[in-house]
């Protein structure tokens, strides 16, 4: 039962972060401009983050979806989500109304709500909870890691 739940969580979180990572990779300049609007970091960190973060999200999403090192990936993703939550909370406290940049180009194309507001905070907290659940549940279904471990056992 728990392994099925872990599998469902993996598909949800993996799918979301794979797509959001791809959307940001396709337009890194836009992501950099969004980060600049947050007014949290100096320019050098903003540019580096705009290069690094989309790929990190994409790889974490892919690994969680395929079940490769998915426990470590979900742990990293949980901490990433906590950071996003803190960043959005700081925006709300300072009264700055901007896009949160969570889904990049995809938000425009699918007209998804992408504002940095309390909805985004709640969404990120839910994502964090799901990531911790994936990390906590030790068994899962249909993972490449499990498949290869079983193959090794047979040999």
């Amino acid at each position: 039962m728990t392994s099925s739940l872990s599998f469902i969580f993996r598909i949800i979180i993996g799918g979301i972060f794979l797509i959001s990572g791809l959307a940001k990779i396709s337009d890194p300049i836009r992501f950099m401009l969004t980060l600049r609007e947050f007014r949290l970091f100096p320019e050098i960190i903003i540019s580096s983050t705009a290069i690094y973060l989309p790929w990190l999200e994409f790889i974490l999403g892919l690994f969680i979806l395929l079940g490769i090192m998915y426990r470590a990936s979900s742990l990293i993703l949980a901490f990433l989500n906590l950071t996003f939550t803190l960043a959005i909370l700081s925006l709300i406290i300072r009264g700055i109304e901007v896009d949160c940049g969570c889904f990049g180009l995809l938000a425009d194309m699918l007209k998804l709500p992408d504002m940095a507001d309390m909805k985004a905070v709640v969404r990120n907290i839910v994502f964090t909870g799901i990531c911790f659940a994936i990390f906590k549940i030790k068994k899962t279904r249909f993972s490449l890691e499990g498949y290869f471990l079983k193959s090794n056992d047979r040999v």
């Binding site: 300049i29 050098i44 790929w55 974490l60 470590a72």
Partner: protein, 75 residues
């Protein structure tokens, strides 16, 4: 409670494995992102900004400061 858990060898080994995997994932992402940034034009702009390689924005600054055409334009 947490330290007690770490004292058991299997749990310690498990946490060590998670830590190794975390470092591997972070490094892999770093390499891929740098390679992609070096290969794509928009990524290159960000790389130049990140490593503080100035991209001829001095004439624009001169324009603002002097309130007229830049040295390049005058030539």
């Amino acid at each position: 409670m947490f330290s007690e858990g770490l004292r058991s060898p299997s749990r310690f080994l498990h946490m060590k494995r998670i830590l190794k995997e975390t470092i591997f994932i972070l490094t892999l992402s770093l390499f891929i992102s740098l390679i992609y940034a070096a290969a794509s034009p928009s990524g290159m702009v960000l790389l130049k900004k990140a490593f503080r390689i100035t991209v001829s924005d001095t004439p624009e600054k001169e324009k603002v400061e002097r309130g007229g055409a830049s040295q390049d334009e005058r030539k």
